[in-house]
Symmetry: C2
Subunit: 145 residues, 2 copies
Amino acid sequence: MKPVGIIHSPYKNTSEAPYQGCTSEDTSQIEVFKEFEEGLQDIEGFSHIIVIYWFHKSQGYHLLVKTPWDDKPHGVFATRSPHRPCPLGLTVSELLGREKNILKVKGLDAIDGTPVLDIKPYVPPLDESSSTKIGWLEGKLRKGR
Amino acid sequence: MKPVGIIHSPYKNTSEAPYQGCTSEDTSQIEVFKEFEEGLQDIEGFSHIIVIYWFHKSQGYHLLVKTPWDDKPHGVFATRSPHRPCPLGLTVSELLGREKNILKVKGLDAIDGTPVLDIKPYVPPLDESSSTKIGWLEGKLRKGR
């Protein structure tokens, strides 16, 4: 599993990053390594992309975790904590533009230097659910930074 | 990067699997390995989960690929092809229930035996975009199996 690119973001460390990028107007750049540039063809037709990355600063994990949203611990798979058995991050980001191998995106909460593992087009019929239940997070999401 | 579980699905090979699971009523089971069971606490409160898995049967990739949806090649990052530089699969699945370390889900298009790398709660404010453009896929998604 080798990265296909790297994220250049305004967040130099985790304390600067927003809890979730969707609340932010900040922009980041995804530098896709030159050898993969051809794989970006036609991606600019999509307004949003799914970015899967490696939480490379994450060290270890607990199966029960407390989050910024409440005081109760929850199973790590019921949270978006970066400290996971397999520390994969996932963000749906707005694709503002592409210049050769550089994607300019909004809403990506990863820190500067984060390795990118995959990029996929966001396709509402596939990726949007008629989700009605968000469990322990119900009513808590307004608290953010 | 070690799997946290394995998928038991009705699709024994890729020719049996739907192009995208969201079109199917079939159910699959995600067996989360016993050592990670505690990490599932409270996940049953969510109606949908994001499953990230390893396309373990994928061998190699091309940067330009043809898909079932049209005859033109597109950059692999602008497609959901399983043959990717980093062969990660991602499906938003409906969580029908949990029994201990077993999750019963609908809409997962992975084949039987697929290793699961991560499970995250699906949270509409984070994971739904106001997507308006789906590029080359526009008008093509009705063709499926």
